[in-house]
């Protein structure tokens, strides 16, 4: 069976002009050879820090950014080569919810109009049928008739995110891209949005591409997880495996950096030295090698290929295949250490 979304060897480079009369150009390697697939009704989380390229991947899936190379196939058809009309038709089946609902909702439109807009434009609904569908969508997102005629600024962040969700669901998409949907929210509000997203997924059979940096949120939402660093996926697999038994030193370091809410687990905040290098001049070999505690000579020259992990998933690292890390960032059972 073809997956709902198949991203294959996706590369996105941005040219930035600089210097006198902007004659010289630098190339930002935002995404370099990223591949993953999402099945119907599944949630894949793309995890990474700022600058890792996860949002660029989301934008390319939405066709808001053009791919430099590689394919983005939705339901077996490559979005990057389709004609405008076909692409528009396919795009109705993929929707997105952004991080900051205040900037993604038009402040001059009422909730009614915000939700009506896609229905009018694509479904040509009007009159009673339109009103019925709007109420149905609002009810699905946990809002009601009392909210219909208000504007975004009258709502809290969590409620705005509900409006954005109602709007995204208007055209009955099969895939929803969630770009950090709860990062701007307080934990008690975040919990309610996560519960809502999970309910909607089960009720409507949605698939999610979930972009997040909060690993605890990812663990609660995702079926599968892919960890990105400097434009590349370093590890992917079932979420529980990636987040509980990481195989890549970067995944392990990321997990060990998360401050645990359990005060008994003060394993002294594992610290990864330095900053993420520039994507204009990414390091040679493995892009993580300058910060990696386990680097070897080969890491500085040869980029590691993705190798399958026994059972499920894959990892791009020169360490021996059997290396597994504990949640304190140290290898367990492997020959390294």
């Amino acid at each position: 069976m073809t997956p709902l979304l198949a991203v294959d060897d996706l590369t996105v480079h941005f040219r930035i002009r600089r210097g006198f009369a902007r004659r010289s150009a630098d190339v930002v390697h935002a995404v370099d050879g990223v591949s993953f697939a999402i099945d119907h009704g599944h949630t894949l989380a793309l995890v990474g820090e700022s600058g890792s390229g996860k949002t660029t991947v989301a934008e390319t899936v939405m066709q808001l950014t053009r791919a430099t190379a590689g394919t983005v196939a939705f339901d077996g058809r490559d979005l990057t080569t389709l004609s405008g009309r076909e692409r528009r038709a396919l795009r109705q089946r993929v929707q997105i919810v952004f991080q900051d609902p205040y900037s993604s909702l038009d402040p001059r439109m009422t909730v009614h109009d915000l939700v009506a807009e896609p229905l009018r434009a694509h479904r040509r609904l009007s009159g009673r049928e339109l009103e019925r569908r709007i109420l149905e969508l609002l009810e699905m997102a946990g809002l009601g008739t009392q909210h219909l005629w208000r504007r975004p600024h009258e709502f809290s962040g969590g409620q705005c995110q509900r409006i954005a969700i109602a709007r995204a669901l208007a055209l009955e998409p099969e895939l929803v891209v969630l770009d950090e949907p709860t990062s701007a929210l307080d934990v008690s509000v975040q919990a309610r949005i996560l519960v809502l997203l999970q309910e909607l997924k089960e009720r409507l059979g949605l698939a999610y591409l979930f972009i997040a940096h909060d690993l605890a949120v990812v663990e609660s939402m995702a079926d599968e997880a892919a960890v990105m660093y400097l434009g590349q996926i370093v590890e992917r697999g079932p979420a529980a495996q990636v987040l509980r038994r990481p195989r890549h030193p970067y995944t392990a370091a990321l997990l060990a950096s998360v401050p645990s809410p359990d005060p008994d687990q003060r394993h002294g905040l594992k610290v990864l030295e330095g900053d993420v290098p520039s994507a204009v001049h990414p390091p040679a070999g493995c892009r993580f090698h300058p910060r990696c505690a386990f680097r070897m000579a080969v890491c500085e020259t040869a980029a590691p290929e993705h190798r399958a992990i026994e059972g499920a998933g894959s990892r791009a690292c020169h360490l021996p295949d059997e290396t597994v890390f504990g949640l304190d960032g140290k290898p367990v059972g492997g020959p390294v250490g």
Partner: protein, 366 residues
């Protein structure tokens, strides 16, 4: 009167205060305060005038910070944790902000009675603050070195070589290499983590005893956050800097703070040693906040808090949490609960907790 009230679900069975704890009879009026505190906030009330009415932002905040101690102020947006931090430094805009009651005592001196001139001599010298967004709190048109040395020149009365030396020393203490390259860079040339280190260098350059860190890692990635938290701990170890760490992230507080105070809608609802408050929370809000955390749970099992944070122009009377509280009683709607000790140094402001604590005593008494 005889049947003991069963403990609420999720809460451990309440225990009588330990023998050595503060006397239970002397609970109200700025209760959770120990002797020899560096900073003591008692009964602080702050209001803001706004177009819609008076915002009752702080409603009787009681806090204390001992020398070399890291106190976490934990709560969600709008709970008053940042206002509390700003109030200590006298940074709230007057006359829009009014301190209507209470006191802020630092090393035995009342800060609220001080003039702006006197406060200026304290800010950056004995009490410093770092903010969430380091790019916004650094001046974009001066180099980092210039900005740090300005603080040193002002407060230490030195210039030239000694000022440069102190600037380099402060930078080194925050883990930034004290090279000319760093000193001569402008804020936009540094990464987020480096900028926050530069802000901290400025904050500690004159030997501050108290650092108020307002969400210092919220704008940073998780690996950089870990570096900055480690730096906060090191500043305490090496320089004895006491800290008030304002954060919405329970994990950040759990990993760094000696004690935490949980705030809700302008009041401190629970305060005590980090391990006690987090492992044995008593207040219904603290318990609910913990259950909202996604750690190790599937999204469908997440607990949520009904309702939303109240509008502080018209806050609920009595306990401000009562409209959302599963354990609310009649008394909660009219009387503001006083801090009650539940264990040594662990205070909870909740009528239900106080009642359940009192119950076994009544059984024994007659």
């Amino acid at each position: 009167m005889s049947s003991a009230i069963p403990p609420a679900p999720g809460a451990p069975a309440p225990r009588a205060p330990a023998a050595g704890a503060a006397p239970a009879g002397a609970a109200p009026a700025g209760a959770p305060v120990g002797a020899g505190d560096l900073l003591r906030i008692a009964g602080l009330k702050v209001e803001f005038r706004s177009m819609r009415g008076v915002v009752k932002a702080l409603d009787g905040v009681n806090l204390s910070v001992a020398p070399r101690e890291i106190l976490g102020l934990v709560g969600e947006s709008g709970c008053g944790k940042s206002v509390t931090g700003f109030a200590v430094l006298g940074l709230l805009p007057r006359p829009i902000a009014r301190y209507t009651d209470g006191e802020i005592v630092f090393r035995g001196e009342d800060l609220l009675g001080k003039s702006e001139h006197e406060m200026r001599a304290l800010r950056g010298k004995v009490i410093s603050m770092v903010f969430q967004d380091p790019l916004a709190s650094l001046n974009p048109v001066f180099t980092v070195g210039e900005q740090i040395s300005r603080v040193v020149r002002l407060h230490r009365g030195v210039s030239g070589g000694p000022a440069r030396e102190m600037t380099r020393e402060a930078l080194a203490a925050t883990g930034l290499p004290p090279t000319d390259e760093i000193l001569q860079s402008y804020p936009h040339q540094l990464s987020g983590g480096m900028r926050q280190r530069a802000c901290m260098a400025m904050a500690i350059s004159c030997g501050s005893e108290l650092l108020i860190a307002d969400e210092p890692t919220t704008a940073l990635d998780v690996t950089i956050q870990a570096q900055i938290l480690k730096l906060l701990l090191r500043l305490r170890e090496e320089r004895g800097v006491a800290q008030v760490l304002i954060t919405h992230n329970v994990g950040v507080a759990a990993q760094t703070c000696d004690r935490v105070a949980v705030m809700y809608a302008g009041t401190v609802v629970e305060q005590g040693p980090t391990a006690r408050v987090m492992k044995h929370p008593y207040h219904p809000y603290t318990i609910a906040l913990y259950e909202c955390l996604p750690q190790g749970k599937r999204a469908a099992e997440l607990h949520t808090i009904p309702g939303s944070v109240p509008d502080l122009i018209d806050p609920p009377p009595g306990c401000r949490y009562h409209p959302r509280c599963p354990r609310a009683m009649d008394v909660c709607t009219t009387v503001k609960p006083a801090p009650t000790p539940v264990a040594e140094g662990h205070w909870v402001s909740c009528h239900d907790v106080a009642r359940r604590l009192a119950a076994p005593v009544h059984e024994v008494a007659p």
